[in-house]
Each structure stands twice: as structure tokens, then as C-alpha cells.
Subunit: 155 residues, 2 copies
Amino acid sequence: MEWVSADLEHCPLIRSLAVLGKRWTLVILREVFNNVRRFEDLQQHLGVSPSVLSRRLAEMVDDGLLERTPYREDGARGRQEYHPSQSAWALFPVLIALMQWGDRYVNDGKPQMSMVHKTSGLPVVVDLVPQGSPAYSPAEVELLWAGQPVDQPLD
Amino acid sequence: MEWVSADLEHCPLIRSLAVLGKRWTLVILREVFNNVRRFEDLQQHLGVSPSVLSRRLAEMVDDGLLERTPYREDGARGRQEYHPSQSAWALFPVLIALMQWGDRYVNDGKPQMSMVHKTSGLPVVVDLVPQGSPAYSPAEVELLWAGQPVDQPLD
């Protein structure tokens, strides 16, 4: 395959976009990365109707991005949480890179988002690096907004 | 801003997706990164009508992703090339990360895409790393498909 003459049907970028091309997919991933994983919480944060959210979550389960996990609170009936799958966690750097780009290039003010290593507090970036370079997992990084901590993924 | 209670209107992810949410934006970026920058070449590679392509390119110029550069071939009238802007090059790692994800997690066979450093031939990845880590520019990396070189960006 030459990139310039790539068969669009088999292009891995097109394959990604077929799954991620819906804007809401990445927004829901942002929430579940951030430990917002229960239907009611997702609905409240995203402000969508139950039927729309239900359909989107089901699509993401079908696409292998989310996994349903049962839970039960005292006195309530059993419900489901939506956890990011391994393939979803593999998108964490993509999501962060998109957020940093939007913050820097689409924001109308100065960039406000940054990312630091939780223990050392040193700045973290998403970049093209040699395989085997010291790198962090999503659980090791913390997002800052205007220098203040924001809730971070807990997995 | 707490991430969990983020104002969606000001979320940098939403801002990115407002610009990049159209599937064709990233596909056109893939082409111009790969030095396919003339209208006729883009049209041939993408198989879209001139009017559709013209509208998409104009939107990307308005969004600050592409810059028009005049050129003239012998005996022909002046035309325009579409070059990636600085903000577009800042998306190169996002595009590569998306391609690698699609190749690994959406592909129905085994992953076929890899990325190497042009000079050393050593594998390159997109990852969360400490700021200041040795990193590569887009011009320093080469994409491989099934172990074979594919055309790479020339800027």
C-alpha cells in the first residue's frame, strides 16, 4: 500500500473514524476515563435523553470500547456500569492530544490545559518517541485546568 | 473547571471535534501531510467531486488548517497548492495515533502498520512522555505498511 494511493476502504485512519467519527463517542470516553460510569451520572453530565444515551452506550459496547459491569447499591435493584475496555484505554493518548490541540489552537484565549505526572508534578506531553522510551500510563497523569487539578482517571 | 462537571461548550475536546469532527478533514490532512497538495491530485486520490472538495478545502483554510500557496507550471495558468499550517502539523501525532489504533483494534487481521525513525530504522510510537523527552518531528518518521515503506511527509 502506498499512502498516496491508499485504498480508502482499508486505510486504518478510515477504520478508526468509522468507530470514532461520532462526536459523542469521544465525549463519552472522556467521562468514563474520568470514572463517570453509571448511566444516571452520564446522563446528568452530558444532558442527553435516556433513550439517546442508551443507544450510544450500546453502540460503544458493540464496538468493543465499553464493557458492562453489574453493581448493586443497598436496597436498589442491580444496575450496570460502563468501563473502558483495553482498546478504549489505548485511545487515552489520542483523546489527550486532541484536548491539548483544541486548547491551544481552537481556544480563543490562551491555553489553559496542562498535564503533569502525579508523583513528580513534572509536565507530560503526547509526542512521537522511540519505542521503549520512559512513558506513563493514564493512571499516572493528572490534568490541570488553569493550573488547578481536575478529576483524573482512577483505573 | 472540574473535568466531570466540565462546561461542554468550553471543553477543549469539544472544540477540537467541532473542527475535526468531519471525517473528511482528517482524510484530507493525511493527504497533505503526505505531500498530495494540488487540487487535481487530491480530487483523484479521494474520488470526490470538484465542488465538494473545493468546499472542504475552503472550510479547512477558514479553520486555519490549510494555507494556500500559488504555483505555476510551464504554459499553464497559476494555481494553488494547499499546505498544512502549523496547527495542522500539531495534529500529526493525533493522526498517527488514530491510524495505529485503527490498525490494531479495528483491523480484522493482524496489525500491518508501523512507524520507524528514518535514519536509525528504530520503531517510533505515540505516547505520554515527560516534557523534554527526545522526540521526533513528522519529517523524521517513516510509515511502514506490512513492513514496506509508504510515502512519507516531506516537510
